[in-house]
């Protein structure tokens, strides 16, 4: 190999983008959310496996889930919402930018059915994001979560489990905890007080692809008109 060729190869290796190109056969490792600060926090995006989104009531976890769905649907992807508590509100989702025709909305009656439905959706392929809203419920055997994680990795799907507490345990490769910082009301005492929104903080509790830090990212959840 001549010295010129070696120099060119070294130059190509250092070219941004080229070195990051993965082989075509390699499964997709993560999905870019197109929310830059979240992507930065996650170390690139949502992993193609199980992610937990944990937060208390009015912490902003559902708003973040809607933001993810909006981003995905705007990119032309299909999103499934397995809504165990039957809490999905299409009006607010649409206001958040979610394209509703691209949402498969399933309302199972129990946790077991919810997990089976999620397995079916992930196994079908073609859905880039599956929101599994479990709210206060817990359940699912380790075998189910393991199967779900493997199928999601194989089909390039990000499964996001929303809940008040962690449910997937060791089978979640990423865990985000959302805590509420502030609730904003304006014009209190005046003739027309208003609810302005929430402030929260997104903290990475567990990750296999990004370093953990205690700072996290701010979550700004404005009220919609």
């Amino acid at each position: 190999m001549s010295s010129n060729t070696a120099a060119v190869l070294e130059h190509l290796k250092l070219t941004p983008g080229l070195s990051a190109l993965a082989p075509l056969e390699a499964p997709r490792q993560y999905i870019e959310t197109r929310l830059p600060h979240l992507d930065a926090l996650l170390g690139g995006g949502l992993p193609c496996t199980v992610t937990e989104l944990v937060g208390a009531r009015s912490s902003g976890r559902t708003a973040l889930a809607h933001a993810l769905a909006a981003s995905m649907t705007k990119a032309g992807e299909l999103v499934a919402c397995v809504d165990l508590p039957d809490a999905f509100d299409p009006e607010h989702a649409a206001l958040a930018g979610v394209r509703l025709p691209q949402i498969l909305w399933v309302r199972p009656q129990d946790v077991r059915t919810a997990l089976r439905v999620t397995e079916h959706v992930v196994a079908a392929g073609g859905f880039r994001l599956v929101l599994l809203d479990l709210d206060q419920h817990r359940g699912g055997s380790p075998a189910v979560w393991l199967r779900l994680a493997r199928t999601a990795t194989r089909n390039g799907t990000a499964v996001v489990a929303l809940g008040a507490q962690r449910t997937a345990g060791a089978f979640a490769s990423l865990s985000l905890e959302i805590s509420r910082q502030r609730v904003s009301f304006s014009h209190q005492g005046g003739p027309c007080p208003l609810f302005d929104g929430l402030d929260g903080r997104v903290r990475l509790c567990k990750s296999r692809q990004a370093p953990l830090n205690d700072v996290g990212a701010c979550l700004v959840v404005p009220a919609v008109a």
Binding site: A63, L78, G97, H120, F185, P193, P222
Partner: protein
Amino acid sequence: MAGMARIGCLWVPQLPLAALHRVDPAIQGRPVAIVEGAEGLTRRRTEGLTRRRTEGLTRRRTEGTTGRRAEHLTGRSVVRALSVEAEEVGVRLRMTVAQARAVCDELLVRVIDGETMQGAIATLADVAQTVSARVEVAEVAGDWVVFFDCAGSAMLCASEGELASIVGARAEQQGLPAWVGVADSKLAARVAARESGGVGVILPRETAARFAPLPIELLDPDPTLAATLTSWGLRRIGDLMALPAGAVAHRLGPSGSQLLRRARGEDDTPLRARATPHTFTETVQLEYAIERLEPLVFVMRRLIDCLARRLALHGLACASLELRLHLDGGGRVVRHLAVAAPTAESKTLLTVVRAYLECEPPGQAVQGVGIAGEAVRIRPAQLDFFQPSGPAPAVLAATIARIAALCGPDRVGAPAQATSHRPDAVAMGPFKGEVVPRDPSGAGRCRETGPGYGSSSTPASSIHAPVALRAFRPPAVLSIFKNAGKLDYVRGPGFGGRVVHVAGPWKLRGEWWGDDPFAREYYDVELSDGGVYRIYHDLRRRCWRADGVYD
């Protein structure tokens, strides 16, 4: 041959037997006699108690059948068609069932119902329609035949014989061993098919010569005329054509002249083209009523295979299914099953049907099964290198069917516009899984929509996501405590606390033009339990409700 009418004919010998064999291949190789399903003979005879075999303590009948043979026949019903095996053991046409059973103890006697026959005939027409736009289904002298226009077939095949071979092969693929004839007229084409033993072509101006050695019965003369001709010693068509036309007309009248014209192969009746079907139906009446799911799905598989093959002939796909179950007690279940994405794959369609049957099994044994598929043309879609492709339509249809079986069909779909002005109204529509082009401007980023909030005081490294509402369905009943006319304490199922902040009220009235108007005052309240709730005071019912929590 340009400008000259050329007609093709499809004829299936022993059509009732072929029709039954098509939907029930299990009868192949067995002595079978087909009798007509007589109207009104709906008496079900319970017999063959020895057939009832029990399985342990459950006493379930083997093969999921009731052991009750559902027969729409009596001992006087007449055999209309026979399998070769039945003929070999001595059963003959026009025997009564009692006579036939006396000859062969193992004889399988089946009733052919009109719908199964119609399914087979429609399949023949579908086959003909693959090579011709003009197809007619006709019943001639008790035989069902399909005529099709062969004019211009040189554009398709090298010869009419090749065209007929192709049509015959396609009919064979559909489970119907059809004989095909091509000639100048419908009559000649039918005779050519019946005398061919496979494929028969009568070239133009050769009809009379080809007809001459054939028996006069092929012209279907009325019985009186046939008896007269027999008494004159006329057996062949050529004998009749040798007679002077004037003398035949003088002695036999108009019917004689008509018969002479038919002997020359002249048939002026035009081809009455049928409309292209939009619904394809397959039906079978079962010998034994089925109780269990697996045998029922086994029967459904055969029907769906037939349906899928017919759809494939037209290049169509099935957009929805209608399942018809005839129950043993005389009841009937008709259920419309939606298919998420049009497909012609029998496996997917079977999954849809199976998911429904698992979800809502028929309460009684099933005596007959019918399935109708609404056909649509699949729109070709150009995939894009830079757009997500979404799930395959067949996979999506099967997945939706499985989910519908798990959760119920009304609990899966896509969010849709509700026909209501109530803020808590929601609706679901069918999920089509159509991927729309990505938004070139938005690039998927979520933008804040709240006026003025978070614009100046929020840190730069923040994630913006408009607030969402987690709905309570149905709205939660609240207990409200007031202090000095202001909201002080709110208690609901699973939540409650002292009111920290409150915004509102926003008055909302609507649907006053209908039977159930509403008038509400909405508040956003932050409670001491940490939640921010949307609650309302129902002014008409004088009660408080919470319809969601902001999250």
